[in-house]
Amino acid sequence: MACASLVAGLILGGCKRADPSASAAGGPPPKDSKARRVAVVVSTLNNPWFVVLAETARDRAKELGYEVTIFDSQNDPAKESAHFDNLVSSGYGAVLFNCTDASGSIANVRRAKAAGIPVFCMDREITANDAAVSQILSDNYTGCVALGQYFVAQVGETGRYIELLGLVADTNTWNRSKGFHSVVDRYPGLKMVAQQSAEFDRSKALEVLEALLQSHPDINAVFCGNDAMAMGAYQALLAAQKADKVKVFGFDGADDAVKAVAEGKIAATVMQFPKLMARTAAENADKYFKGERNFPHRTPVAVELVTRDNVAKYGNYGRR
């Protein structure tokens, strides 16, 4: 069996003999060797949340009888583009895709489509309706509406806060920010004193907030577009001896953040369901191989507010 570990950028590979009995659609996977190979292209594996997303997609596709390789784009659109070049020339049958750039990644998806390789997006949206077969996406906006309402309840109707944005090229960043602001901006007493990207990265968030605290030492809260940044923000506040005075809000439902919510270190997060999204994308690919063509283009996946009151229900990137 040809294992795809030779492909540049390969981080984790899964090369397994197909198990036709595992197919969810009731039949074996296609016998065509091209169609039996699935690529999982993920934005980064430097964040446990995306590791869960990629590995779940890989594992579900393997259960369904496909050979699977994970490609790590390391948040670099150029690396992502190179992965698509490779997977097109290597004869993959489908791509389970978590993009680095909502608009910049469209060309990669179109290139795969032109080569007859269907693409199934997970978690991160591409802003085109005619490229991917399906997009399974968290309902970030709704999650941050709920988070915004909780923010107001916890912080009050007056206060000063900082917002740490994610990657500015990712629509999730803005859907979260806009959901949050659709609520919080209705309270004129709540002042955002700084808004800066920390690129969804924990270390970057630590650096950014440390710097911002120099000029804004009197904040009441930090809203972070993901949990990695929330954990970095908490570290910065801890170092500045402000952790007990400043409330931190995250998004993702990452295990360390859920634990931090339980311990009272972080006020709240929002649970996304990466395993559900990844499994659904893999199952859509399986159905596509077997002839299904009628997929809703975008399917929102519900998210849930996690606070100290309900945190016991959550863990391991989902509900317990």
């Binding site: 909502a102 949206e125 802003t127 309706n129 399974i136 996406l137 309902d139 970030n140 906006y141 709704t142 509406v145 709920a146 915004g148 309402q149 629509t171 803005w174 859907n175 806009k178 959901g179 659709s182 609520v183 209705r186 369901f273 559900l276 659904t280 809703p296 283009h297 975008r298 399917t299 929102p300 996946v301 519900a302």
Partner: protein, 178 residues
């Protein structure tokens, strides 16, 4: 489903964000308030299964209901109405700031796949909420005095449980005093 359990709202032409008229589409089904209330009080799970609709995977379920009743109290962010055709069961019409997708998704009229992306679809929620806040809520608040009779239509998330207060809390999309 019996004919008296559901109705159809008027079916205005829908205009795409591009400005291109998409033509008339099937009218959404809404449930009559007394029917939903009766079902809710009997078995909330079964009521949701029969009368609510879901959006996406694991998404919120919504009721879209229409009914009539009389105002029994008014508060800062809601008007409580005793619903005709019930044994005085009360629902609330929300009059406070509106957030989220309750109206966008609750009517069942709008489909994410008919929009360029999630950003545009989300912006629609904010715009719809503002429309309700500017067109529906001011006259509702103005005329809502205890005893006033009105007809209403509105959307709400399926409640987790039935508490001691109003059985449903609707975002009104229509309210007309008789």
């Amino acid at each position: 489903m019996a004919a008296d359990e559901v109705g159809r709202v008027s079916d205005p032409p829908i205009v795409h964000p591009t400005g291109e008229k998409a033509g008339r589409r099937p009218a959404p089904l809404f449930a009559a308030a007394p029917i939903v209330i009766s079902a809710l009080l009997r078995d909330p799970g079964a009521a949701a299964k029969q009368h609510a609709h879901h959006v996406g995977i694991g998404g919120t379920a919504y009721y879209f209901v229409r009914g009539a009743g009389r105002v029994v109290s008014t508060g800062k962010n809601e008007i409580v109405v005793a619903v005709d055709g019930t044994d005085g069961v009360q629902i609330a019409l929300r009059t406070g700031p509106l957030f989220g997708n309750t109206v966008r998704d609750g009517t069942g009229l709008l489909n994410v796949n008919e929009f360029p992306g999630l950003a545009e679809f989300n912006a629609l929620s904010a715009a719809i909420n503002r429309l309700v806040e500017t067109r529906v809520l001011p006259p509702l608040r103005e005329h809502a005095v205890v005893g006033a009779a009105l007809e209403f239509a509105g959307c709400t998330e399926v409640p987790d449980a039935i508490g001691a207060g109003p059985v449903l809390s609707l975002v009104p999309v229509s309210a007309e005093f008789r």
